[in-house]
Symmetry: C2
Subunit: 302 residues, 2 copies
């Protein structure tokens, strides 16, 4: 397989059909990247884009998208439920194959430099690309959102951007540029209506309250099914495996006499995560993703 990077630019428009269509058309012109997903969300007034390709091709496409967002989107009139601070709000780079995390950190730096040089939009590096510990978490970087940052930038020394001018862009705000691991959205469903149990178990598995290093978790009620759910993001499936988190939740649920009635993987998952699951439960010796037919075919096809 060739060198592959994924990039998931999020831009702050989920309603205006002309803007959305313009950006969609722009991406389609980059025939050297693969558009895996393009989901405008009207409630959040935000669109998630997922592209994949060589580091160079992905960077060029992301840059094109970002510059167009600066042209078309005005944060002064933007409203949406999702936290956001810029027209092109976040641009994370994710290593997929034959690319290291430090390659993606470099890519984030290159992108942020070129983008801010071109548009004068201030950029903050986050997660693995963060230059300060208090910028690692995207939620911290984006705290106060566009409106808050507008007041703080230029005066608060903690808000000096990593690239670009130390002042807000008058219409496009600011952008968070990052490097991170492939994220797996994994939910476990519990056969009870008692939300407190899902919340307790979420606390047990999540990093912030003493659980696994690469798990973010919350308890949710799914009223239409009469059940509750431990809803998670696994931020590094190589170091915190799905099966281990699942087994811990199953064990915790038992203590309440509550059954695990099912689980869900939302969106995509790398084949390597399934290999880890198979290795564990079937006690496989020396089985790797190189033995998966589709992975082998993909390597040959590139």
């Amino acid at each position: 397989m060739a060198r592959l990077v994924e990039c998931v630019p999020n831009f702050s428009e989920g309603k205006n059909k002309t803007t959305i269509e313009t950006i969609h058309t722009l991406i389609k012109k980059h025939t050297d990247v693969t558009l895996l997903d393009f989901t405008p969300d009207a409630d959040h007034n935000r669109t998630d884009v997922t592209i994949i390709g060589s580091p160079e091709a992905v960077k060029a496409a992301a840059l094109d998208i970002a510059v167009k967002c600066v042209e078309l989107i005005d944060m002064n009139t933007h409203k949406g439920e999702h936290p956001r601070m810029g027209a092109i709000d976040v641009v994370p780079f994710i290593p997929i194959s034959e690319v290291s995390m430090s390659d993606c950190v470099q890519l984030a730096n290159d992108f942020a430099k070129e983008f801010s040089d071109k548009t004068h939009v201030p950029c903050y590096l986050y997660e693995e690309a963060a230059t300060r510990e208090d910028r690692r978490n995207l939620a911290d970087v984006r705290r106060g959102q566009y409106e808050g940052l507008k007041k703080e930038i230029g005066t608060n020394p903690d808000k000096v951007p990593d690239y670009g001018p130390n002042k807000i862009h008058p219409t496009a705000g600011a952008t968070a540029v990052g490097a991170r691991f492939f994220l797996i959205a994994f939910n476990v469903n519990l056969g009870t209506t008692n939300l407190a149990i899902a919340e307790d178990i979420a606390k047990v598995v999540r990093h912030s309250s003493g659980g696994y290093r690469y798990v973010k978790a919350k308890g949710f009620e799914i009223k239409e099914r009469g059940i509750v759910q431990v809803s998670m993001n696994l931020t590094n499936y190589q170091k915190t495996s799905l099966f281990r988190v699942f087994e811990t939740i199953k064990n915790e649920a038992e203590r309440y006499g509550v059954p695990v009635i099912g689980s869900e993987i939302v969106g995509l998952v790398p084949v390597e995560a399934l290999v880890h699951i198979s290795n564990h439960y079937l006690r496989l010796e020396k089985f790797t993703d190189q033995q998966v037919l589709e992975k082998k075919l993909l390597e040959i096809s590139k």
Copy 2:
């Protein structure tokens, strides 16, 4: 993903470097098929070839290989440990994606007709392509091998071929042409030196003695590790899942107080088999191979 068929021609030469190299070079010229594997085996005096591609491309490449084997290999001087009855011994077609088993049965018929028309080698259809129940099993078709068939063909009415003349080819013998499912070689290792236990458990899981429909199994001793092994071929992983066979073996081993210390998948496995394993153990709801990143990338790349 495009329409994909796998073909695993086995030819009766594993030593003569010139012959092997000539056939290897020939395959390489078929740039529209992917050569996944090419393994000459000197002990068996036999070479396994694995190619993958569109049904049309795979048939053309297999035909080219087969015709060249007829030219180059003389069964009258062939010796090897593996059962065989022809220069090009077996040609199975295996559905991989967007191709049905009945497509592969048709492909086997088309191949056998064209090949025997061209070379006058008699062809026997086997497994899913079999025209009689007693030709379903390749071992039955090949019983007596080249030397035995030479005596029986033309006189024994049960040996009338499906295609080609009712007489042996003077140098190339006969060929078995089939359609079958993707085969997974799966072994489970038991922490005991007692071979009888592996043999007993093999009997429990294999079809021929009352076990799972799509399992062939034998007990083996692995002296260098001081363990025994239940060695299996799973001939239809969609209907007899790896995890179910594994759990049955684990349960049976328990009855002897013997631990399952590991397992092995030899060679390739389709991602769908790993999805089945994950679905079972993580109790996943509605998770399919369409959510596996590499599968999605492969579909887009074709």
